[in-house]
């Protein structure tokens, strides 16, 4: 009897344990983060889409990264990082950026995820850091190099720092408006993809010192590739988000609504 009383007393004195919080990462159940990381790795093995006549490829990974923030919120950064690390461990032969390849997809998911979680100041800081990483490199001050990150980074900065656009896009994503979700998804996917590709470009520039003679002539090519990725990611993003909502499966918009 004495032992039982003391046990009860201890239970009352201790702070309550919240297992549900322990099992979550930035509000998202850890099981979803695990599943996304596994999906990300699987997407790395799915044959890439060629860009006709240009010898480039569009990877399914790029689509996963672009929509990750809308599906998982800021936890997308963790899921993408895990997926990127596992991809590097399983397929180490195509890692152009070496063991640091996972950084690009992490940043992509982080910026759009923070934006969805209404942490726009933090998203802005990360995006500005990425932009600074590009412009701190002396090569970025060569002829016309400023146009390389321009189109989609400009849209990203506008979405983050222009309150009416930011509020409108977030509202449409959270309310899943049947028509307006399309342009809003386009903006969110643009934010994620532009953060990813600008991180990649900055890392490539620091590692391999590609000058304007490479970047400027290929600018149109990369803009067209990015456009295709963003459009396809928008279509898939709307499909996934609508499907998750209809199936009443947990995802970030349910949490941040």
């Amino acid at each position: 009897m004495k032992d039982e009383r003391s046990t009860t007393q201890n239970t009352i004195d201790q702070p309550s344990r919240r297992w549900d919080v322990k099992g979550r990462i930035l509000g998202i159940p850890i099981s979803l983060v695990v599943i996304w990381a596994a999906l990300f790795v699987t997407a790395s093995a799915i044959p890439a889409l060629p860009v006709p006549g240009m010898g480039g490829v569009i990877t399914i990974n790029a689509i996963m990264t672009a929509i990750s923030g809308v599906v998982l919120g800021p936890a997308a950064a963790v899921a993408n990082m895990a997926g990127g690390i596992i991809s590097m461990l399983l397929f180490p032969f195509g890692a152009f950026l070496g063991p640091l390849s996972f950084l690009t997809v992490t940043v992509g998911g982080l910026v759009s995820g923070l934006l969805l979680a209404n942490r726009w100041k933090l998203a802005g800081v990360v995006e500005l850091l990425v932009v600074a990483t590009w412009f701190v490199n002396p090569d970025s001050w060569q002829t016309l190099m400023w146009i390389v990150p321009l189109p989609y980074t400009a849209v990203t900065l506008l979405v983050i720092f222009f309150p009416p656009l930011r509020h409108w896009a977030r509202k449409q994503i959270l309310s899943l408006d049947r028509v307006r979700i399309w342009p809003a998804m386009f903006l969110y996917v643009t934010v994620a993809h532009s953060a990813e590709f600008l991180t990649t470009n900055a890392m490539v520039n620091w590692m391999y010192d590609l000058s304007w003679q490479y970047w400027v002539p290929t600018w149109l090519y990369w803009v067209s590739v990015d456009t295709v990725i963003i459009v396809i990611s928008t279509i898939i993003g709307v499909g996934v988000l609508t499907g998750l909502h209809r199936a009443r499966l947990p995802h970030a918009t349910e949490i941040y609504r």
Binding site: R17, W19, K22, G23, I25, P29, I30, S31, L32, V33, V34, I35, A38, L39, V41, T42, A43, A45, I46, P47, L49, P50, V51, I63, M64, V71, A79, A82, I86, M88, L89, L90, F91, P92, F93, A95, F96, L97, G98, P99, L100, Q142, M207, Y208, D209, S211, W212, Q213, Y214, V228, I232, I236, G239, V240, G243, L244, A247, L249, P250, H251
Partner: protein, 263 residues
């Protein structure tokens, strides 16, 4: 899909602790970024290739890496060859063409810097496979845990890897189902058709996997995930004197390269 790139063997490199190999990998990566003279990076590449041979790893992997990235390596070299603003001229090609930033000369500095960047590319491309092919994934994961990365992140890595075969099977089933319905052709067709195919694969794949995640969630919760317990590990590794030696050698090499560059 491959679930591991590890190639079993009983060599010096295979026997090293994953932590010391990870530290050596990061050090070599940092040195490759710090140094910008081809002779030094060639020395670094020599160390990497010697390790590759010592670990008895297949050389055809190296050949495939070089073949796959030869195009981008050539591009990197040509850019430095023609556009690097050097002072010691080797070859006069034409009059200056300001529009493309070409001085008309090929300089010694441009050749050396171009070679240095190609060698840097090769070091970066070969160093990660060297680690992954000589270390079992379980030991790599344990090394990350021993480096005090958050347990939850280590859990995500290991659980995601164990789920890969089932997700891959699901992806193949969806591909087959969509092919049967005539909705998509994943192998042929123009760009638009292939993009449509990727949408018809990804959407059901993600939704199905998210539905399965609820079972995983129940399993995680029922095992009281996150409970404050003292964790033990099935696999235990210990740093041996040879591992400490490798870590010290990596540190000294890093200091030496910093001295070469800025000393």
């Amino acid at each position: 899909m491959a679930t591991s790139a590890f190639i079993p063997a009983n060599t010096f490199l295979h026997r090293l602790d994953a932590r010391s190999k990870l530290i050596a990998l990061l050090t070599i990566l940092a040195i490759a970024m710090i140094l910008d003279h081809p002779v030094y990076i060639l020395g670094l590449l020599g160390i990497v290739l010697f390790s590759w041979l010592a670990a008895r790893l297949p050389l055809n992997f190296l050949g495939n890496i070089f073949k796959y990235f030869s195009g981008i390596a050539l591009l990197i070299f040509c850019i430095q060859l023609f556009f690097y603003p050097g002072e010691i001229y080797l070859l006069h090609l034409s009059r200056p063409i300001p529009l493309i930033g070409f001085s008309g000369y090929i300089s010694l500095e441009g050749v050396l810097y171009g070679l240095a960047l190609i060698l840097r590319l090769i070091v970066i491309l070969t160093i990660a496979p060297l680690l992954v092919m000589t270390t079992p994934l379980s030991e790599l994961m344990l090394a990350l845990v021993k480096f005090k990365i958050p347990y939850r992140f280590a859990f995500i890595l290991t659980t995601a890897m164990s789920l890969l075969p089932s997700i891959q099977n699901r992806a193949e089933l969806i591909q087959q189902a969509q092919l049967c319905r005539g909705v998509a052709d994943f192998e042929q067709g123009n760009l638009i058709l292939r993009l449509r195919a990727s949408a018809s694969l990804l959407i059901p794949l993600i939704l199905g996997a998210f539905r399965d995640s609820q079972t995983l969630e129940v399993a995680i919760s029922s095992r009281a995930f996150g409970a404050p317990v003292q964790r033990t590990y099935l696999l235990e590794t210990h740093l041996r004197p040879v591992d400490y030696s490798l870590i010290m050698a990596s540190g000294l090499l890093l200091l030496f390269s910093l001295w070469i560059r800025w000393g």
